[in-house]
């Protein structure tokens, strides 16, 4: 039952990934990426990880891709131009891709030759066991991730804030005034 589903979604994810790289229009690329995310979520279900599958659909296919699509439509981008400078990147990319593919086949061969030592455990993917591990053994990393998310919120607000010329002059005038006050205090 799992086998045909796995190969269906594996083929779908590879096809969507190739279409992501192939299309010049970023909008088509984004839609292909959503296809990759959804088929990977289905593969996670065949791996007995329903929680990760749900989070994949919610966070990746939902939140992140909506953000990316918003930015693509907001900026109204042109089609991707072919390389004009740095033409040698085509050769670099081809060599890099062939090397990585060779490594992939080597790993596939090596892992399939090793004796099977898997420990079957149907409990491992349940949400409760993930939550237990998250809030006992891995509490510190979860806290660090929380702080990192807060920093990302503040950083993105500061990054995309746009001050007009009059606002910049106001900020400068205020700084000058404060420096003047400090000098008078001495």
């Amino acid at each position: 039952m799992v086998t045909p589903l796995f190969f269906l979604f594996a083929g779908l994810s590879i096809a969507c990934a190739i279409s992501l790289v192939y299309h010049k229009n970023p909008l088509y690329s984004a839609i292909s990426l959503v296809g990759v995310f959804i088929s990977l979520a289905c593969i996670y279900i065949t791996l007995a990880a329903p929680f990760i599958a749900a989070v994949q659909v919610l966070v990746y296919a939902g939140a992140i891709m909506v953000l990316v699509l918003f930015v693509i439509m907001l900026l109204n981008l042109d089609e991707d131009k072919p390389l004009t400078q740095l033409r040698y990147l085509y050769a670099v990319g081809a060599v890099f891709g062939v090397t990585l593919l060779a490594q992939t086949f080597f790993i596939f061969y090596a892992v399939s030759k090793t004796p099977n030592t898997s420990i079957p455990n149907t409990e491992s993917g349940l949400t409760m066991s993930i939550g237990k591990a998250m809030y006992t053994e891995y509490l510190l990393p979860v806290e660090i991730v929380g702080i990192m998310l807060l920093m990302a919120i503040v950083g993105s607000v500061i990054m995309s804030r746009h001050l007009s010329q009059t606002q910049i002059e106001l900020v400068k005038a205020k700084e000058d005034f404060e420096a003047f006050q400090e000098r008078n205090d001495y």
Partner: protein, 101 residues
Amino acid sequence: MEPNLATYLGLSGILFTIGAVGVIYKRNAIGMFMCIELMLNAVNLTFVAFARHYGDVTGQLFVFMVMAVAACEAAIGLGIFISFFRNKISVDVDDASILKN
């Protein structure tokens, strides 16, 4: 052929390769960003496959952390693209050359 650890690792390696080649070929910053997301997803698949293979929940927790990092990356990266677009009216990485010379 029953899918085992080797098949999952092979799929993950193929997706990672496509993402890495895409990062090199794309000239569009948002396209590069999406290829990086594809590479992160390939690594996530490896984590989940190993978690299944060893019956341990730690791999799935790491997937969670990677997703949080990807969300932060999306927020900050797209903020950078917007402020870059304001200055250059494009998100082509070839135009990001003011630090040259």
